[in-house]
Symmetry: C2
């Protein structure tokens, strides 16, 4: 199992329509083949700058690669993530 997480901050003002729309539209990622345990989350620690997170799991690297290369993911990154996300960090976990 690989748990892929991304913690991020949007360019949109807090509580804005644009913020809500981004978070709503990001749910399309859950429908990409291979995605398991999809979660959208609010980041609440004051010890980092990020406000939201997404977490998903893949059964193996092949499933993860399939997600990365899927047209829906590629389009989301190009059309929504790059223009609307101010900063982010990717953190991927496997069993210790």
């Amino acid at each position: 199992m690989i748990r892929h997480t991304v913690v991020f901050k949007l360019k949109h003002p807090k509580g804005s329509v644009a913020e809500k729309k981004f978070l709503s539209d990001a749910n399309l990622l859950a429908a990409i083949p291979g995605v398991q345990a999809f979660e959208q989350l609010r980041q609440v620690s004051p010890k980092n700058e990020f406000k939201f997170g997404v977490s998903m799991e893949f059964k193996d690297q092949a499933a993860y690669t399939g997600y990365n290369e899927h047209p829906s993911h590629v389009a989301f990154v190009k059309d929504r993530w790059v223009p609307e996300v101010a900063s982010f960090t990717e953190i991927d976990y496997v069993a210790l």
Copy 2:
């Protein structure tokens, strides 16, 4: 539910006895009252500097505060975390 995660890098060399001992001893945190879904993880994304992670959940802020203030946690931070951890980031999630 609050999911408390910390992603970190140890000062110890990769695969060293000191590294193994730190990771083994960190399991004591799982026994602190209020800790649920405790996981130790390996961080594998090349897009950040961290090599390990810990994740746990609390039912509410009171349980999280109880953990933070518990003598076992305070001692672990003072005696092991501060001297042995090179860098870390705390990320806490709640439902969106």
